[in-house]
C-alpha cells in the first residue's frame, strides 16, 4: 500500500510539470481522475488478490500440512502405546512369545519411527516445544527398542534379568516417550485449529469487501461528476468497470462463504470428534497397559490398579467424562454408532477387569492372565479388543469426513486470486477507455 501511495505522488508531480496544470480546466481534472481511478482499481485488485491468496493458502495448509501432521502425531502415540502393549503381552504369556504378537510389535515400532520421520520432514521441526518432542522421540525410540531386544534375549536364556529390562523399557515409554507423543499431538492439534481459524477468519475479507464497496462508491461519484460535465447519462467504460467490480466482489464473497462453511463442517464433523476420540484412545491405551502391568510388575503396591481406576473414572461414561464428551462431539457425525458401541464395550471391560483383579488377588494368576489376553466372550481382552476396534473405526470415519470437507473448503478458493486480478485490470482499462473518450472531445 505504501508503495502505491508513493507511486501516486510521483505521477502527480510528473503531470504537474508537464501540463503546468491548472485544475480549473475540465480536461485537466479528467486526466487527474483517470490516473486516480486506474491506480485505485489496480490497488484494489492487489488487495483482493492478496486476500484470496491468504485464505487459499491457509485452507490448503489445513489439508496438506496441518491435518497430516496432527494425524501423524496421533498415529505415533497409538503405535508407540501399542508397541509397548505388545512387548508386555509377549512377556506376560510366558514361554515362547506368539509370532503374531512379535509381528505386531515390529509393525508398531517401525510405523512409529516412520511417523516421527514424516513429522520432522513435514516441518514439525524447528519450532521450540514441537522440535523438542520430536527430538525426544527420535532419540528415545531406538533406546526403547534396544532395551526391548535385550529383554527378549535375556528371556530366551531364561534369565529374570529380561524382566528388569522390560520394566526399564516400559518406564521409558510411559514416562518419556508417550508424554512427548501426547504433547506433540496437542501442539499439532492446536496448530490445526489456528490455521483453520486463519482460513475462516473475518478481518481480512471484511477490509477487502469494505474497500471494494468504497471503490464502487467512488466510481459512482466519478460517473455523476462526468455526466454533469459531459451531459451524457451513462459512461460505458464506467458501467463495465462497475460490473467487473460487482462480479469480483461476488466471487470473493462466494469463495469465502463456501470455503468457510466447508472448513467449519470439517472441524465440527471431523477434527473435533477425532480429537475427542483421540483423548479416549489415549486413556484406553494407558488403562490397558495398567491392566497388564498389574499382572506383571508385582512390586507390591497397587499403583497400577489405582491408575486404572482413575482412568476408568475419567473415561466414564458420565457427565464431563471423556466417553460422554466424545459422544457429544460425534453426535451427528458418521462415527456416532461406533461411539455408542464403545460405551457398552467400556462398561463390559470395567466389569471383566474387576473379575480379573479378583482372580489375581485370590491366587488364580493364570486365569487372570488368560482373561487379560483371551478372546473368549467376557474376557477382559475381548472387551478391550472390541473397544479399540470401535475407536479405530470412529477415528477413521471422522478423519475421512474431515478430509473430504477440508478439501472442498480448500478448493473453494481455486482460481479466485487470478479472477480478481483479471477483474481489476479490466476495471482499470474500462475506466481509462471511458474517460479517454471524453478527454478526446476537448482537443
Amino acid at each position: 500500500m505504501v508503495s502505491t501511495a508513493t507511486h501516486l505522488g510521483g505521477q502527480h508531480q510528473l503531470q504537474s510539470r508537464r501540463f503546468r496544470l491548472d485544475l480549473r480546466t475540465t480536461p485537466a481534472r479528467m486526466r487527474l481522475l483517470l490516473a486516480v481511478l486506474v491506480l485505485t482499481n489496480v490497488a484494489w485488485g492487489a488487495l483482493a488478490a492478496f486476500t484470496a491468496s491468504q485464505y487459499a493458502s491457509a485452507a490448503s495448509a489445513v489439508v496438506t500440512t496441518r491435518e497430516p501432521l496432527s494425524l501423524d502425531a496421533l498415529q505415533i502415540y497409538r503405535r508407540l502405546s501399542d508397541a509397548n502393549d505388545a512387548a508386555t503381552t509377549a512377556f506376560l504369556t510366558g514361554g515362547l512369545e506368539p509370532a503374531a504378537v512379535r509381528q505386531r510389535y515390529l509393525a508398531d515400532i517401525t510405523a512409529a519411527a516412520a511417523g516421527v520421520e514424516d513429522a520432522t520432514a513435514l516441518g514439525g521441526a524447528g519450532q521450540g516445544a514441537t522440535a523438542d518432542d520430536l527430538g525426544t522421540l527420535t532419540t528415545g525410540i531406538p533406546i526403547y527398542a534396544g532395551e526391548i531386544e535385550t529383554a527378549r534375549a535375556d528371556n530366551r536364556l531364561g534369565l529374570p534379568l529380561g524382566a528388569a529390562y522390560l520394566r526399564e523399557a516400559s518406564a521409558l515409554m510411559r514416562g518419556t516417550l508417550l508424554p512427548a507423543a501426547q504433547s506433540l499431538y496437542d501442539a499439532e492439534y492446536a496448530s490445526l485449529g489456528a490455521t483453520g481459524a486463519q482460513a475462516t477468519g473475518l478481518p481480512l475479507i471484511t477490509i477487502t469487501a469494505a474497500a471494494g464497496v468504497g471503490l464502487g462508491y467512488g466510481l459512482y461519484r466519478a460517473s455523476r461528476w462526468l455526466s454533469r460535465r459531459t451531459r451524457r447519462v451513462f459512461n460505458l467504460g464506467f458501467l463495465a468497470a462497475a460490473l467487473a467490480l460487482v462480479i469480483s466482489l461476488g466471487w470473493l464473497a462466494f469463495a469465502y462463504a463456501n470455503g468457510r462453511s466447508s472448513l467449519l463442517t470439517a472441524q465440527a464433523r471431523g477434527s473435533t470428534p477425532v480429537a475427542a476420540l483421540a483423548r479416549v484412545d489415549i486413556a484406553v491405551q494407558r488403562a490397558h497397559a495398567d491392566e497388564s502391568l498389574t499382572l506383571i510388575d508385582n512390586s507390591g503396591d497397587d499403583s497400577y490398579q489405582q491408575d486404572y481406576l482413575g482412568l476408568q473414572r475419567s473415561l466414564g461414561p458420565g457427565a464431563g467424562t471423556l466417553l460422554t464428551d466424545a459422544q457429544q462431539a460425534t453426535a451427528g457425525s458418521k462415527a456416532a454408532p461406533a461411539v455408542t458401541a464403545m460405551v457398552a464395550d467400556a462398561r463390559g471391560w470395567y466389569q471383566a477387569h474387576a473379575s480379573l483383579r479378583v482372580l489375581d488377588d485370590t491366587g488364580k494368576h493364570a486365569d487372570a492372565v488368560q482373561s487379560a489376553l483371551g478372546t473368549a466372550p467376557g474376557n477382559a481382552g475381548t472387551w478391550f479388543g472390541q473397544l479399540t476396534g470401535n475407536l479405530a473405526t470412529g477415528i477413521a470415519v471422522d478423519q475421512a469426513a474431515f478430509d473430504s470437507s477440508a478439501r472442498a473448503g480448500s478448493s473453494a478458493f481455486n482460481d479466485t486470486e487470478a479472477g480478481v486480478i483479471a477483474a481489476a485490470l479490466i476495471m482499470a482499462a474500462a475506466c481509462a477507455w471511458g474517460l479517454s473518450r471524453r478527454i478526446v472531445e476537448y482537443r
Binding site: 512377556f91 504369556t93 536364556l157 534369565l159 534379568l161 524382566a163 528388569a164 518406564a171 512390586s299 507390591g300
Partner: protein
C-alpha cells in the same frame, strides 16, 4: 502410591542416578542413623530388659519385641518348635488350611532364590522350596500356594497388613526387623560382598569411596556401605529389584552392586562379565518372616525347617539351586 514416584525414578535409569545422587543418598544415610539410634537406646535399657529375660513366653508381644531389639541375637531369635509340624485346631495353620492355600510373599527377580522363570512363567528357587515345604506340611501338597511377588521394600508392610502369611525373600534377620516381625530359624547364611564388572579395579569397600553403588529399596545392604568418617562415602542408588541393579551396572550407571553373596552369585550367573570381590562385609542370616501375632505358625515353620535339615531335603534343594552342598545352618532358639 508413594512408590509410584520411586518406580518412575528407578527404571528411568538416568533419572534414578541423578535423583539418587541428589536425594536418595540422604534417606540411606538417614536410615543408617535410625538403626544406630535403635541400637543405642537398646543398650541403655539393656539391664532392665535382661532382668525380665526369663519370662519370655509370658510377656506381651510389645515387651517381647522391646527385649528382642535390645538383647538381640539374630541367629537365635526364633521360637522353638513343639515336636513335628502339626496343624492343631484353632491354630493359624488351621485357618490357612480352611482357606485352601498359603499366601507367600516372594521375590520374582532373584535368580536361584525366588525368580519368575521366563520359560514357563513359574516362580521358583531355593526360597520357594522352603515355602513349598511349609505348604506340604499344611496341605500335604506343595502346590497349594499363592505366590505374591513383592519388592524388598514391601516385605515388612505386607506382613504387618496381613496380605501375606509368610515371606521367603532372601530376608536377613536383623534386630531392627525383629521389632516389627518374627522370623523362623536361620535357613541360609549369606555374607554381604561386592559385585563389579570384570575390568573394574575395585576390590574392597574402600575402593567405592565416592562411587555409585546400587542396592534395592528396603534392603539393609546400604547401611553396611559406610567408610570411616572423613573419607568420601559411597553414593547409594536404590531401585526396586536386584535385577534392576544389574541393568544399571550393565549400562555403566553404577560402579558396583553390594548385597548378599547369594544374590550376587545369581546376578553373576546372568552376566559372566561380572565378578564378586572383597571380603565379607557382614553376616546375613536368612529367615522366613512371619507376623509376630502368630507364634504358633513360627513354631510350626521351625518344625518344618527342622525336618528339612534332617531328612536331606535342604541339602537337595541347596545342591539344585546353589552348588556343592554344605551342612545346613544349625537352628538356635530363644527358648
Amino acid at each position: 502410591m508413594k512408590k509410584t514416584l520411586c518406580r518412575a525414578a528407578v527404571a528411568l535409569a538416568v533419572v534414578a542416578a541423578l535423583a539418587t545422587a541428589a536425594g536418595c543418598a540422604t534417606p540411606a544415610a538417614g536410615s543408617v542413623g535410625s538403626v544406630g539410634s535403635v541400637g543405642s537406646v537398646g543398650s541403655a535399657d539393656r539391664v532392665r530388659v535382661e532382668a525380665h529375660a526369663v519370662a519370655v513366653r509370658a510377656v506381651s508381644h510389645a515387651q517381647a519385641r522391646a527385649k528382642t531389639a535390645a538383647a538381640c541375637n539374630p541367629n537365635a531369635a526364633s521360637l522353638a518348635p513343639d515336636g513335628a509340624p502339626q496343624v492343631t485346631a484353632g491354630s493359624f495353620m488351621a485357618k490357612i488350611r480352611a482357606r485352601g492355600y498359603l499366601i507367600a510373599g516372594v521375590d520374582q527377580s532373584t535368580y536361584h532364590f525366588g525368580y519368575l522363570n521366563p520359560l514357563d512363567g513359574k516362580i521358583e528357587g531355593f526360597d520357594i522350596d522352603m515355602i513349598r515345604a511349609v505348604a506340604k506340611a499344611i496341605f500335604g501338597n506343595p502346590d497349594k500356594v499363592e505366590y505374591k511377588a513383592i519388592s524388598d521394600a514391601q516385605r515388612i508392610p505386607d506382613i504387618l497388613n496381613r496380605s501375606v502369611d509368610i515371606v521367603a525373600h532372601t530376608m536377613t534377620i536383623t534386630c531392627a526387623r525383629l521389632t516389627q516381625v518374627d522370623f523362623s530359624s536361620v535357613y541360609f547364611e549369606a555374607h554381604q560382598r561386592i559385585l563389579v564388572l570384570n575390568n573394574s579395579k575395585v576390590d574392597s569397600l574402600a575402593g567405592l569411596a565416592g562411587q555409585k553403588v546400587c542396592v534395592t529399596q528396603g534392603s539393609d545392604s546400604g547401611s553396611t556401605l559406610r567408610l570411616p568418617t572423613g573419607q568420601r562415602q559411597p553414593i547409594v542408588v536404590s531401585v526396586p529389584f536386584w535385577t534392576d541393579c544389574l541393568v544399571l551396572l550393565q549400562q555403566d550407571q553404577v560402579t558396583a552392586i553390594s548385597t548378599d553373596d547369594s544374590i550376587l552369585d545369581g546376578l553373576h550367573a546372568q552376566d559372566p562379565f561380572t565378578k564378586v570381590v572383597g571380603p565379607a562385609l557382614s553376616d546375613q542370616p536368612y529367615g522366613l518372616a512371619i507376623s509376630n501375632k502368630h507364634p504358633d505358625f513360627v513354631r510350626f515353620v521351625n518344625a518344618v525347617l527342622a525336618q528339612e535339615r534332617s531328612d536331606g531335603a535342604w541339602r537337595a534343594s541347596y545342591a539344585h539351586w546353589i552348588g556343592a552342598p554344605v551342612p545346613p545352618p544349625v537352628a538356635q532358639y530363644t527358648s
